[in-house]
Symmetry: C2
Subunit: 242 residues, 2 copies
């Protein structure tokens, strides 16, 4: 991890609770979950800090407890794509431990965050010793796979406008906080992020988002995007421009 700017802790009261709520330990008795938590390391990072880099040897598995993480892939031609945003309660960097052993993307905090992580050895041991954990992992990865496949199909068949809307709806699903009919996406998003998520350009994303803000469909409040009318968004997602 560190460039020295990280503050490291062993799990405290709060973080233990957060770790025990992870999908990883779903269906497990509390004492096992506690054991999993006891093996974790917790890093407190500022925004914009790198967690791991594409191509590095996979040493640890991670989970976001507080904050948000950007997972970005860079092609051999230099083109970038935002694979996903990680919200609190989600894991990342786990698959590489089980496959070729190299992280397939960059990971950096999108805001000040608390990141839990486990060493490869510990994580593999947990998996070997608990079939339930193994199955939980398969479930998580399978979920991701289904999600990415959907995006792939959309990318192939839908317009830039529709893809952006889908990206927004996905983010709402993932970390939406309802408040007075509207719904705030609790992840800091720059235009560039939206564009890369939806597989379009900064310019197109900016144009569309600005237009939607003008109409009152969206709003910005302190770095975050607020969806004011999800249903109207959904209509755009399906019907296209009608």
């Amino acid at each position: 991890m560190g460039h020295g700017m990280s503050e490291q802790k062993t799990p405290s009261q709060n973080t233990v609770r957060a770790i025990c709520a992870l999908g990883l330990v779903k269906g497990l008795p509390p004492e096992v979950a506690a054991h999993v938590a006891s093996l974790a390391r917790v890093d407190v990072l500022p925004g914009g800090a790198g967690v791991f880099t594409q191509g590095a040897v996979a040493q640890r598995a991670y989970a976001v407890l507080v904050g948000a993480v950007r997972i970005r892939q860079i092609g051999s031609d230099g083109a970038q794509a935002l694979m996903r945003m990680i919200a609190p309660g989600e894991m990342f960097g786990t698959v590489a431990l089980f496959t070729e052993g190299y992280y397939p993307a960059d990971a950096e905090t999108a805001m000040p965050s608390h990141i839990a992580s486990w060493s490869k050895a510990d994580f593999m041991a947990l998996t070997m010793n608990s079939p339930q954990i193994a199955i939980n992992i398969i479930g998580m990865v399978g979920q991701r796979l289904a999600n990415v496949q959907n995006r792939l199909r959309e990318m192939a068949t839908q317009s830039a406008e529709q893809r952006i809307v889908h990206a927004l709806l996905m983010l709402v699903e993932q970390s939406g906080a309802v408040q007075a009919g509207a719904c705030e996406i609790c992840i800091p998003l720059r235009r560039r992020d939206v564009a890369e998520l939806a597989g379009t350009t900064l310019y197109t994303a900016s144009r569309l988002l600005a237009a939607w803000e003008k109409v009152g469909l969206l709003a910005r409040s302190r770095q975050m995007l607020v969806v004011r009318d999800a249903n109207k968004l959904r209509r755009i997602a399906q019907g296209g421009l009608l």
Copy 2:
């Protein structure tokens, strides 16, 4: 499965060997592999037969022993995308057993095929009882995930031409049979298949493939595509149109 046109067998000598070579049982002692094989059902299907359909409740996990299978997803708007072609030795329809429980796509044979399959109960039991199998599954799914993510990035950033080339190279990787410098893709591919794989239209795919055939980069031999110069293809994949 069946519309009555399938011929069902219990594993024979040959099929047992094929099943024991699956990634699923990698690193397992032979007797365990044999046990896995003994639980399998084998269907002999003609080309164009449906194996399962999108949205159906996931009952079984599958593997192709002989032949090829098309995995196609259809969006709510009716747009189709070819998620992957399955070559002999690969599994499909497994993830749904661990997630929501519905197949996320259609599966149909692209040619006469032998398909092995396991019931959900058997498959889950195997996973619960053997950590190694669980880890193998995670590895397989992880591999797929990495692959799909790459395609997603390419889809977002590259030209139709480059995406088609990548699709071809992937297929070569997956089921290429070398013969006299050239390399045959042992999966029947229609223009439409290539188009949907690469996320472009039938028309664009046809134009490009025809052009490459004219130049001698590609050829067709009895339903199959033959890559005559993989290196030149790779150059197109990277450099674009130069």
